[in-house]
């Protein structure tokens, strides 16, 4: 009896959030036979949590918008560490990807003349986010899911990939297990697309679900591909802080886009106290002007609450540390105040922000139309990930592609809200197209059965140690505390070094983890297997953060609070060194084409 079930496909997509679904649809449309492997049930991926909208320069609300403005906004937000080719393609192709969703049945909110409505968001110069109330991600994933199931994809639900298999210099397949029975599967493929999302579970306070354990990043790294920009982890400024059990759950930036304001315990709008120089010309002078901006006045500039996420998160931290925070260690986010300005404000809020209304009502006994919310930063997104080619999304390992959050390049040092949904559409589509082309051109590689058998043995080891081994949940929560305390929003060299020591010790404990029971739907086992990936990404984040001795975008070093010019010219690339240890190196940014440099200059 074979030790695993074998499957053969042209393209295997790992992950079925927006990027994975979009890649699978495209590869399939290109004629490839496609397997879509996902850790949860189809349609449950973290894309459903995206609330605010999808950024695309449709210019439906403000005709001054176009791809050049979107490109320049994205580069400015990313502090110019972005891959400019990706930022260009993203800005140019996002409108078409959004319109295509409408052709597949998505129903966005409308403008008075019946086109797709767009809303304001932090760092975007014009109203740019196509949205459906505050449940845009659900609309997007459901549209892709309902379209995809008729495209002949073979979907493997509740399957987790534990290793990629190589054939000499290229990728040839993937080994994984299904949760239901604990059986192993081997997918042979011409090309693989990683679309596994983020690493939020490496932190204690996060908006991410259990799935986001850095699988794609770690699989790629283990297979010999390179990671990039891993020091840039986005802490979303507004997560719930109370009650304790919901800490970290996201509160959409859309609240601020609709006129919500941040106040400290003294009632002061502290965001006016610190406006970065690069954004001063675009930021409102007064509360009055800020309000007008949120209500669509094109002559007004945005309120400081809509500055980039890294900045807002740090301002909130500052207020809390200075003792000016809310009772549960956050600050106040107030949308209820708009009743001073709008008739029927309560109804307006419920219509514009239905799931926020629902979430606070049910989980915190707060009526957001009447009372302020308490919010604080939460680990939300990683800008870094698998290093890919800007046009094709292929990693440094031939045949291995990556798209969406698990890939690096588009967002640089900081991502703008709304740019992740457009990212996964644009680059999901590109990854799917190029993966299908690669598979067509190169065929399937040979899979090394010994490597697969070794991978399987390794995955089963925790059972040999049984209940006497370390508890996987305990190791995971120790890692989460380490990263939260030592590699969080504000970083220092000594703490980063300490984190590396602790990660090393946790790696030893992870090697002793034991699992009782059997292989059928055993979450203790699943948690044990995720630990390796979490440790790889935790180490990569920490090492890259250590090397970047400056503060830029989402990466803030208290011991080096300014920018260092030389570091503004490099990305940090992580790879496994010849000795097996993790190595981080600075590599020069990809060259910026003259015409793109001109666009950036014009839009300053």
């Amino acid at each position: 009896m074979p030790a695993w079930e074998e499957h053969e496909h042209d393209v295997v997509v790992i992950g079925a959030g927006g990027a994975g679904l979009r890649a699978a649809i495209e590869a399939s449309a290109a004629g490839a036979s496609v397997a879509l492997v996902c850790k949860s049930l189809l349609g449950k991926a973290h894309t459903v949590m995206a609330e605010g909208g999808v950024a695309a320069a449709l210019a439906n609300v403000d005709e001054r918008d176009n791809w050049m403005v979107h490109f320049a906004d994205t580069m400015r937000g990313g502090q110019y560490l972005n891959n400019p080719r990706m930022a260009e393609l993203h800005a140019k192709e996002a409108p078409e990807r959004v319109r295509e969703l409408e052709a597949w049945g998505a129903l966005f909110d409308r403008t008075p003349d019946g086109r797709i409505l767009q809303r304001n968001f932090g760092g975007h110069r014009y109203p740019r986010l196509a949205h459906v109330g505050d449940r845009t991600g659900l609309e997007l994933i459901r549209t892709l899911q309902d379209h995809g199931i008729h495209q002949g994809l073979q979907v493997f639900m509740e399957c987790t990939v534990v290793a990629l298999l190589r054939d000499d210099g290229r990728v040839a397949g993937a080994l994984g297990y299904d949760r239901e029975r604990g059986r192993f599967h081997l997918w042979r493929a011409g090309a693989l697309v990683l679309a596994t999302g983020g690493i939020g579970r490496a932190y204690k306070i996060t908006s991410n679900s259990w799935e986001y354990t850095g699988d794609g990043q770690a699989l790629a790294y283990d297979a010999g591909a390179e990671l990039m920009d891993m020091e840039f982890v986005q802490f979303h400024p507004t997560g719930m802080v109370w009650p304790p059990s919901v800490t970290g759950i996201l509160v959409t930036e859309g609240v601020r886009g609709e006129g919500g304001v941040l106040r400290n315990k003294d009632g002061r709008r502290f965001m006016f106290d610190d406006i970065p120089e690069a954004y001063r010309a675009q930021t409102a002078d007064s509360e009055e002007e800020g309000w007008r901006y949120t209500q669509g006045d094109k002559a007004a500039r945005r309120p400081p609450e809509l500055l980039t996420r890294d900045h807002v998160a740090r301002c909130i931290m500052r207020e809390v540390r200075a003792g000016r925070g809310s009772p549960h260690g956050g600050v106040f986010l107030d949308i209820a105040w708009i009743r001073e300005r709008l008739p029927h404000a309560a109804e307006h809020i419920r219509r514009k922000l239905p799931s926020m209304y629902h979430q606070f009502r049910q989980l915190a006994d707060i009526d957001i139309t009447q009372q302020p919310m308490e919010v604080g930063p939460t680990t939300h997104y990683i800008m870094g990930g698998v290093r890919v080619d800007g046009d094709t999304q292929m990693s440094t390992l031939p045949g291995l592609f990556a798209a969406g959050e698990c890939a690096a390049g588009l967002h640089g040092a900081n991502r703008l809200g709304g740019n992740s949904l457009s990212d996964l559409l644009v680059f999901g589509q590109r990854a799917g197209r190029h993966a299908a082309a690669f598979a067509r051109e190169h065929g399937r590689g040979a899979v090394d059965g010994d490597a697969a058998a070794a991978g399987m043995r390794c995955a089963l080891e925790p059972f040999e140690r049984g209940a006497g081994g370390e508890n996987a949940y305990t190791v995971q929560s120790s890692l989460q505390e380490t990263m939260q305390d030592l590699v969080g929003i504000v970083r220092r060299e000594q703490e980063l070094l300490r984190a590396l020591e602790l990660i090393g010790a946790l790696r030893e404990r992870a090697a002793r983890v034991g699992v009782a029971g059997h292989r059928e739907y055993n979450p203790g086992w699943h948690t044990a297997l995720d630990l390796h990936n979490l440790l790889v990404v935790a180490e990569a984040v920490t090492r890259a953060a250590l090397l970047r001795r400056e503060s830029r975008g989402a990466h803030f070093r208290e011991d080096a609070p300014g920018k260092v010019e030389a570091l503004g010219k490099v990305n940090h690339v992580v790879r496994r060194g010849p000795d097996g240890a993790m190595a981080v190196a600075a590599v020069p940014l990809p060259p910026l084409r003259a015409d793109l440099a001109e666009v950036i200059q014009e839009m300053r």
């Binding site: 459903v48 049945g105 019946g114 199931i149 989980l363 979450p523």
Partner: protein, 252 residues
Amino acid sequence: MPQATFRIWRGDAAGGELRDYPTEVSEGMVVLDAVHRIQAAQAPDLSVRWNCKAGKCGSCSAEVNGQPRLMCMTRLSELPLERPVTVEPLRAFPPLRDLVTDVSWNFAVKQTIRRFRPRAPDAPDGTWRMAQSDVDRVQEFRKCIECFLCQDVCHVLRDHRKFDGFAGPRFLVHVAALEMHPLDTEDRTEDLRRAHGIGFCNITKCCTRVCPENIAITDNAIIPLKERVADRFYDPLVLILRWLRGPRGPQT
């Protein structure tokens, strides 16, 4: 810290039993937190599905004290903690392990529903124009998070096991979203009557009561669809006209 006991169903397709797990509870906790706490400290192999923990993904459906609920949105403060809180898997679907059930039937049903087919674009640039007021009612249906609580509670499925002839409330909502989509041109009325068995629904509204998204499943989705079926197949005037003109008569 106060304690509470959770009486959780442990077992698989071959059978199982309720087992008691006393655990500490704290302010603001939801049932899913308690299940996680038990998993981390007492029963590492306790199977449960969950993802977003914010009522948006519809993964953690279960029966809490006999009521179909999302565990992540059920606060302990709304339950009587002086007696054990029972947590059981959805009973309409085959058990896989502990709180996890085999919901694959739902994915198979969806596959049988005719896909969205839009009319030709309204504008030369390939886009459409739709009024917000026309979009509103379909947006209500598209709020569905596919938690399948409505399927679990529907007596046609739960008690009468009509899995072969009835799509269940979730997929009637899905058909309603397609049929009432301002751009859609496909006709699913015949399918509703035959393959999806809309006639089995006798409007007891159990599905509406358990919907965590507060979709008016019966009133806004199922009844209007039933009217379409009735207009097409059972309207006496239409029947006479059809008889006069032959089998492919005018359709309303």
